[in-house]
Symmetry: C2
Subunit: 319 residues, 2 copies
């Protein structure tokens, strides 16, 4: 029979977990005390947090627990990459129902710990609380050794670039919600791309709510407008297969891509094309920043504005 | 009619909130970007996170939303104080159902922001996600300018000290669960006490799961045993009134006190008694650390062990 959380208890589960957490040289006090302590880095300290809630961000059975843990870690890694930073330490706050099989929590933490280790991150603490549904709030501390790349620096005339492809995560969620058996693609890690692109980027964001909406965040923060050429958007093959002619409008509004979206001066084109082969992923120039009120237009090959049925993802305003 | 979260949306609510967040001089990038950035402090960086879930840690109507926000902030403040540190910056990850009145979230954040400001803490970021019930995960970053005070330093012969009183929070929760109208006492702020006590403490913890259990955490981490004199435990007046002769066993296992529990050499007694008037709260010597297997005994005036019906609070093993 499966052991459940109510059988081992909060403190029992945590005590067993602590032995499995590796401890890097920057950790002064690791997990299991009132707070963790790490040596402070040189450079600005980056802080970000993101939550995955069962029923909102995933359904039971969509992916093995270790993949869910890895996803919770990587969506935060993506935020640190989008600032041009490196990750240092993570805290994991879990909510779980008492009848949850302990194996699920164990798998989840295995996924967090393994991926954290791969990326040189110490898991230094967390919390476990009773709740009606499983949820994971991961907090990541990072460092930016140069000025963090925010959403505010885009200038009229800038090119708009995006790493990798978009629409793959959205297409998988669409298929899962329709009852098909499929896997969400893993959240990509763009730390090396971020390291190389940050020195050139005027503004940068990760694509989590949909390319159009996230470019809109840059526009609002920078006080500019943007135009995206539909034909230049790098749509994931699985999305193209599943959505056909609707692939581009779907891909630019679906979200869950976790690619880097950045703006840079056109004078940097040659440099960016030289950098591209070392990024570990594609780099596509998809549009430009313009003067004007914050708005993002999607244009066809003839320069006509393509209508979009929705702007992007909002947790409280569902499709 | 009350505006609900589904009316304003995730991004709408966040956009409005951002204008209300003050920004201290150590903030490089405030809330609203992919991650926040703060100037790194000198000294060890403290990291802690804690969650309040509706139905587990509070019930709707137990306290106004601003008090709930303050509580979410202070339970983390308490962890930073227990390490002998100062708080610097907070992240607030909220889960909320779409039909939640926006006024509740507004009140909650007002409570967090006001109390953070009072204690010199910058609210630098957060997250809002849809979930079946309201939950707040607050992450606090702090700094320890000297060596952090952990749970591991208790030595046989040490005195055991506790700040303030215990049992008040537990008695209020007991009354609320029984249907009485009452208020939980605010989580005390022991930052000044921590600053003065940390240089003397061999081990320190905050009392969140019950004095006996939290002293047990110190014993296990330090490889020692402890004895507590029941007659010396500073029981809150409200707990004494409500529980009568059961007040002490209740108070030492109820939890929710958020007082500092520490051990120190008996040679520091005079110094601690000299410090006491400046702590802003009572300081009571309640027992001693002994050699032996990790265990905590509660003793009556004749030195007899008092039986306890439960060890302390565990989220998944209810009373």
């Amino acid at each position: 029979v499966a052991r459940r959380l109510r059988d081992v208890g909060e403190h029992g589960w945590i005590a067993r977990l602590l032995g499995t957490v590796p401890r890097g040289p920057r950790v002064v006090v690791g997990p299991g005390d009132d707070a963790a302590a790490i040596r402070p880095p040189r450079g600005a300290l980056l802080l970000t947090t993101d939550t995955l809630v069962e029923g909102s961000h995933f359904q039971a059975g969509w992916e093995p627990p270790a993949r869910l843990g890895r996803r919770a870690f990587r969506i935060n890694l993506s935020d640190v990459a989008a600032m041009g930073g490196r990750p240092l330490a993570a805290l994991v706050a879990i909510e779980a129902p008492p009848d949850l099989p302990v194996a699920i929590l164990d798998g989840l933490m295995r996924g967090v710990i393994a991926d954290a280790r791969t990326h040189g991150v110490d898991v230094v603490g967390g919390n476990l609380a009773a709740a009606p549904r499983l949820a994971v709030t991961l907090t990541l501390v990072g460092v930016a050794s140069r000025r963090p790349v925010t959403r505010t620096g885009a200038r009229p005339g800038d090119d708009v670039w995006v790493t990798g492809t978009v629409g793959g995560g959205g297409a998988a969620v669409r298929a899962l919600l329709a009852g098909h058996r499929t896997r969400r693609p893993p959240v990509p890690v763009r730390l090396e791309a971020s390291r190389l692109l940050a020195p050139v980027a005027h503004a940068m964001i990760d694509v989590s709510d949909g390319l159009m909406q996230d470019l809109g965040h840059i526009c609002r923060a920078s006080g500019v407008a943007a135009a995206v050429d539909a034909g230049r958007v790098p749509v994931a093959a699985a999305c193209r297969r599943a959505l056909g002619v609707e692939a581009v409008p779907f891909a630019v509004t679906a979200g869950e891509d976790y690619e880097l979206l950045l703006t840079a001066s056109p004078r940097q084109r040659a440099r960016l094309e030289r950098i591209a082969p070392r990024l570990g992923c594609a780099l596509s120039r998809i549009g430009r920043i313009e003067a004007g009120r914050p708005a993002v237009r999607l244009l066809d090959a003839g320069g006509r504005v393509l209508p979009l049925r929705r702007a992007g993802f909002d947790h409280f305003r569902r499709r």
